[in-house]
């Protein structure tokens, strides 16, 4: 599938649902867990709040803030009419005004993720608008060929970033220093953004954003390395020990890797995402860690990868989404164990007809930094 075919699918869904005008909205605060209908519809990653107005005939208007970013948007989206504004709600309503007079059936996507000041303005001004989140993101449940290619490159960058981590991390360095250096290094490889969670300690409760804590011998470094290449995220989850790992730690890490392997094996077309989560849990439950398979220790065993659509959603027991070829998501057991603390292991996978294909060249394994 390419972007044009996805857009054609969305337009067909608009006709089926009798939507005459689809408004995709995003606030420009790009976040790994926040889907972005503007990117799905237009391919554009905005600086500020932005909107796309799409008609069933394919006519598209892209509204961007700040106004001076309109030319970049036009270069990125040559088929769209681009309007630069400094107030996205006013810009949308100005464009909608002409169409709404004729009783246009309007639907919005992304409204519930907007900040209140923008959302409330639009909600009041468009009282009859329906939600089109399902319409847009159902059509974007699988990745386009370009998004898959970008995910492969993002994965390559993530693995190089991980090698760099092992090369430079040392006792006395702060988590912040290490994270800043890794982010910079991956940017030199082409990653325009990075959801890099990195923390360390002898017994981690979770993976968290870095702070000023200094690394020490015996620390377990947790790294969710998540570069974005051309707007497509990919992630690897890795665990590194400073110094010699205990036998128990090595054994427990093998356990979570085995759990991940079972999850990857379970992921296949026609399988519900919940079953992938069950397969991972089963390995851990068999070893007596059943109570650690639920909150507050674990919320999910993976997730979709944006920045556009985050379908097929979380690898979680309550996700009934059926897997299909060209779906892209993370499988990461990322388990808290009482003996070792939190351990990270995870791979980005692409669903194919044959099953889940990890995009990484090297699977997660407990790494050590010699002191």
């Amino acid at each position: 599938m390419n972007a044009q075919e996805r857009l054609a699918d969305i337009r067909a869904r608009m006709r089926d649902e009798k939507v005459n005008l689809l408004i995709g909205l995003h606030d420009g605060a790009h976040f790994i867990e926040k889907p972005n209908p503007v990117t799905v519809l237009s391919g554009f990653k905005s600086l500020g709040p932005a909107a796309v107005l799409l008609q069933p005939d394919g006519a598209m208007t892209l509204i961007v803030t700040p106004h001076w970013d309109a030319e970049r948007a036009a270069q990125n989206c040559p088929d769209a009419r681009v309007v630069g504004v400094d107030d996205v709600a006013a810009g949308v309503l100005g464009e909608v005004g002409r169409r709404a007079a004729s009783g246009t059936a309007i639907a919005t996507a992304g409204l519930r993720f907007l900040p209140y000041d923008i959302a409330s303005h639009l909600t009041v001004a468009l009282p009859g608008a329906r939600s089109a989140d399902k319409l847009v993101f159902d059509a974007a449940r699988t990745k386009t060929a370009d998004e898959i290619a970008n995910a492969r490159e993002a994965t390559r960058i993530a693995e190089l970033g991980y090698q760099h981590l092992i090369a430079i991390a040392r006792p006395g360095m702060s988590e912040d220093e290490l994270a800043v250096e890794l982010k910079w290094f991956m940017k030199t490889l082409g990653a325009e953004d990075n959801f890099l969670l990195l923390c360390a300690g002898p017994h981690n409760r979770a993976v968290q954003p870095s702070n000023g804590r200094k690394l020490a011998i015996g620390d377990i470094i947790l790294a969710e390395i998540t570069p974005s290449f051309k707007g497509q995220l990919a992630q690897i989850c890795r665990t590194v020990v400073i110094g010699e790992p205990s036998e128990e730690l090595a054994r427990k890490y093998e356990l979570v890797v085995r759990a991940m392997d079972e999850g990857i094996k379970a992921a296949a077309p026609g399988v519900a995402m919940a079953n992938v989560c069950r397969a991972i849990n089963a390995v851990l439950e068999a070893e007596g860690y059943g109570e650690y398979c639920y909150p507050p220790h674990i919320r999910r065993r993976g997730h979709g990868l944006g920045f556009g659509s985050i379908r097929p959603g979380d690898v979680a027991l309550d996700n009934t989404a059926m897997l299909e070829p060209d779906m892209l998501f993370m499988i990461h057991p990322n388990q808290y164990l009482p003996e070792t603390g939190y351990l990270l292991c995870g791979e980005p996978v692409l669903l194919t007809e044959r099953g889940a294909e990890p995009l990484t060249r090297q699977k997660a394994a407990l790494a050590t930094i010699a002191c």
Binding site: G28, H30, A179
Partner: protein, 369 residues
């Protein structure tokens, strides 16, 4: 200036009591209570993209998930952080407030705010609510009976007057900014490609302690600006860049036009900037200075990037107006980013400086000369 917002804030922002003592925050909160003598508490929202108000009162810059500070008049302040109980640890070093809890939704915050009314029966304040997700906003409204009073604009008025600690933090930030600009200029002069030069600048700012660096650059001689989206190996001349660096939570920003040739448009822009600076003094009208830049720019036109905001307040926020708008007049102690952008269709230049207003003129926070 709006730049690409990163999906996660990565960089050092732990609270340092020597840089920003606890008394600083206590005084700021006391000033808020003085402005609202009947308020029992303040609900202060911030997320990784918008958090100037939260950072001003708590030092907390949320890196991953949103946070709400519940500031209570009796001093029993709390921070409610998104992301679950296991995520609280990483936020503890970022703030002086010790009571950090998981954010359980707007209803819980609203109920807690109402509890504070037992001792102080006034109306709770709410700050930064425009940035809240709608569901959170509605939850607070429902719990408080829509009684919370939006005090965001009033807090920004208080934030205008910078303390010596804040100015000192901004000078540290300017040190990082200057390092970035110098590295970019050196790399460009040595023939580096566009993004190589930009990345060397970002790295130098990081080396100087910056917790965040944002950049924009131009591939068309300064006509348009763009963020880093992919590597660009071409060397361009002239190279127009924008850099914002953040240290101790305070931003500084600057525009620089780099060229190996003498550019009349750049000389004109710098001349206008110096004229603008000469006109800035306490009591002078900000609109007059903005008008001076516009009127004296002929035969050039104002550059679209700076035309709407030649003067802006930069500090804890790097955001677009309204909150970063200059006041009606310059006041002693204000810090401004002063930007002059001009263009004529074929030539373009944006230059800027950051200054603090003092008696009789300005003190430089950052400049390229």
């Amino acid at each position: 200036m709006l730049t690409s917002h990163p999906t996660l804030l990565i960089g050092p922002s732990d609270w340092d009591a020597e840089v920003m003592p606890r008394d600083e925050f206590t005084q700021r909160i006391d000033a808020l209570w003085r402005a609202f003598p009947d308020a029992p508490c303040a609900i202060v929202y911030g997320n990784p993209a918008h958090h100037a108000e939260l950072a001003y009162l708590t030092n907390l810059v949320p890196k991953l998930e949103a946070a709400i500070a519940l500031l209570v008049r009796d001093g029993s302040h709390e921070i409610h952080l998104g992301g679950g109980p296991n995520m609280l640890g990483s936020a503890r070093p970022l703030t002086w407030i010790e009571d950090i809890k998981p954010l359980r939704g707007g209803q819980a915050i609203g109920r807690r705010a109402l509890e504070a009314r037992v001792s102080f029966p006034g109306v709770p304040l709410i700050i930064g609510d425009g940035y809240m997700p709608t569901a959170l906003h509605q939850g607070i409204n429902e719990a408080t009976g829509e009684q919370a009073l939006d005090a965001t604009a009033q807090l920004w008025t208080l934030m205008r007057h910078l303390s010596p600690y804040e100015v000192s933090a901004m000078r540290e930030s300017a040190f990082a900014l200057n390092g970035a600009m110098t590295a970019i200029a050196d790399a460009n002069k040595a023939g580096a490609g566009v993004t190589e030069a930009i990345l060397l600048g970002e790295r130098e700012a990081n080396r100087r302690g910056a917790q965040d660096v944002r950049t924009l650059f131009s591939l068309d001689g300064g006509r348009t600006l763009q963020p880093f989206t992919t590597k660009i190996e071409a060397h361009v001349d002239p190279l127009q860049v924008y850099v914002a660096a953040r240290r101790y939570n305070y931003w500084t920003e600057g525009f620089l036009l780099l060229s190996n040739n003498r550019l009349p448009v750049a000389a004109k822009a710098k001349e206008l900037l110096l004229r603008a600076l000469a006109a800035i003094k306490p009591g002078a009208r900000t609109a007059d200075v903005a008008g001076l830049i516009s009127a004296a720019s002929k035969p050039y036109r104002p550059h679209p990037v700076t035309a709407h905001a030649p003067l802006s307040r930069v500090g804890l926020a790097l955001e677009e107006p309204p909150h970063t708008k200059p006041g009606t007049t310059f006041e002693h102690g204000d810090v401004y980013s002063v930007k002059v952008g001009i263009a004529n269709g074929t030539e373009h230049a944006i230059v800027s400086t950051m200054v603090q207003v003092r008696e009789g003129g300005t003190d430089m926070i950052w400049a390229t000369w």
